[in-house]
Symmetry: C2
Subunit: 251 residues, 2 copies
DNA sequence: GAGGGTCAGATGGTCGGACCATTGGTGACT
DNA sequence: AGTCACCAATGGTCCGACCATCTGACCCTC
């Protein structure tokens, strides 16, 4: 049927796929400030009618938003805009790692670049409140020298606190994303760790440099710490027979 | 022949949501090496049966994977594992920016941290081939001093080439993600740019530092360049009446 | 026989409707 | 007044159908 043209000059083919329309709709609502973190979206049946797509298509779009970490659904309750601190779900990076074979060393190196920058910025402009948060974590680390799992939690939180203290939420989000991946493997090997005390000491030196407002020193201390941490994790890894059979599993 | 009983007989429960099952299935295939970039997935109807979910649920899962940039569908052709260089779709960061009000300065600062690290690493270990790629982009910039849009393209590609030359794909992916956002706004203002020649000169100095294998100098030159670029873009922005009315739109 | 145009099957995209599972509030019962 | 059971609202899943697009094989023309 060559004659059947559906282009329609009035409505050029500008129409996006239905799912994309939903994403765009929500995006505009967010950018206009009509939807804020924690807010609840209309029920799917209502929202579908409002946007002008079917419910399956609407759900398709919402599925995308959920994958991006923008919304969160609870059966029986409703769909909500993600609340809490900015969080770039670890899933994307995790998939890229599996697809393209990112190695643990590469992840570690990227993390190093980000954390060095964050430490430097934190030393320049951390507020008193955030410096206190750092001190709390350092204290908690010293208090849990005999409990590796607990120690690791405060280790992670210290690094997160440094990222926050940098005052740059973009940087903090990126660090959080990578740290989540590193944490997963670290959790399995930390039991074999030794010298937790030395690790705590290093964190304390980082804290002091930030508190003193010395960017170069903060960067150096963080660099030293990460270099040793990387080495430590590698040895923890070796101490375990581990499974080498898998081909594509790096991270 | 049970008339219409829906499964659930032997499987106790603990089953993930249908969409998550699909994601997990594909993830395992990728990690096991059975699915590689460029490969085609089975048709939706077949795949749904294989995994044991309905087609709508399967599509829900595929929608998630598409949002993460893992797969790409083409109507009439099939669904394929994403090929090409690692790419973390800009959508996630873009949404976070809208949700939490990341400012352009914060994006720029995060980019600065990443690019400084990349420049430093590139100077340490760039291969001859990748150094040549840098040289090509610098030359292309000098050749397009009278064409701002073309100049901008090579500007972006130069930075991308530096990220690649760092030899760390994780870093390159993160830089690419942030650059995509910055590029969007820059494209609109570059026409007002002046001193393209000086910009090209700065890129050349960065290139030389990398070629000379001098990490500190590469880092410094990149830092100088980004500081000036940020300042330049700010003035380009001011030169335009622009729309200030929007409340939540920062990036 | 070779080339190009055409048609059918495959495949993803959309839709409407239906039913299930969970949640949270409300009203009835004690 | 307190507790509990019920029910409406809402997201989760599924079915079947039809449309839009692409791919490849078939057929007609030269």
């Amino acid at each position: 049927m060559p004659t059947a043209i559906r282009g329609k000059t009035s409505k050029p083919d500008t129409e996006l796929p239905a799912a994309a329309q939903v994403v765009e709709f929500v995006r505009r609502q967010i950018e206009a400030g009509r939807l804020r973190p924690g807010d609840r979206l209309p029920a799917e049946r209502d929202l579908a009618e409002e946007i002008g797509v079917s419910r399956p298509s609407l759900r398709s779009g919402l599925q995308t938003l959920q994958a991006l970490g923008v919304i969160q659904s609870r059966q029986g309750a409703g769909t909500f805009i993600a609340a809490g601190p900015p969080r770039l779900g670890g899933a994307p990076l995790s998939f890229l790692a599996a697809l393209h074979g990112f190695t643990r060393d590469e992840m570690f190196e990227a993390r190093r670049v980000l954390e060095l920058g964050a430490a430097s910025l934190a030393a320049e402009r951390a507020t008193q409140e955030r410096i206190t948060a750092l001190a709390d974590e350092v204290a908690a680390m010293f208090a849990s020298l005999d409990d590796p799992q607990e120690f690791l939690i405060h280790d992670v939180q210290f690094h997160k606190a440094v990222a926050t203290a940098s005052g740059n939420p973009v940087l903090a989000t990126l660090i959080d994303t990578i740290s989540a991946l590193v944490y997963e493997t670290r959790k399995l090997t930390v039991e074999r760790a030794h010298d937790l005390k030395e690790s705590a000491e290093m964190h304390r030196r980082i804290y002091r440099a930030i508190k003193a407002g010395d960017p170069e020193k903060a960067r150096d201390e963080m660099g030293t710490h990460l270099a040793l941490a990387r080495q430590a994790q590698a040895s923890e890894e070796e101490a375990r027979p581990a499974k080498r059979a898998n081909s594509g599993r790096q991270v």
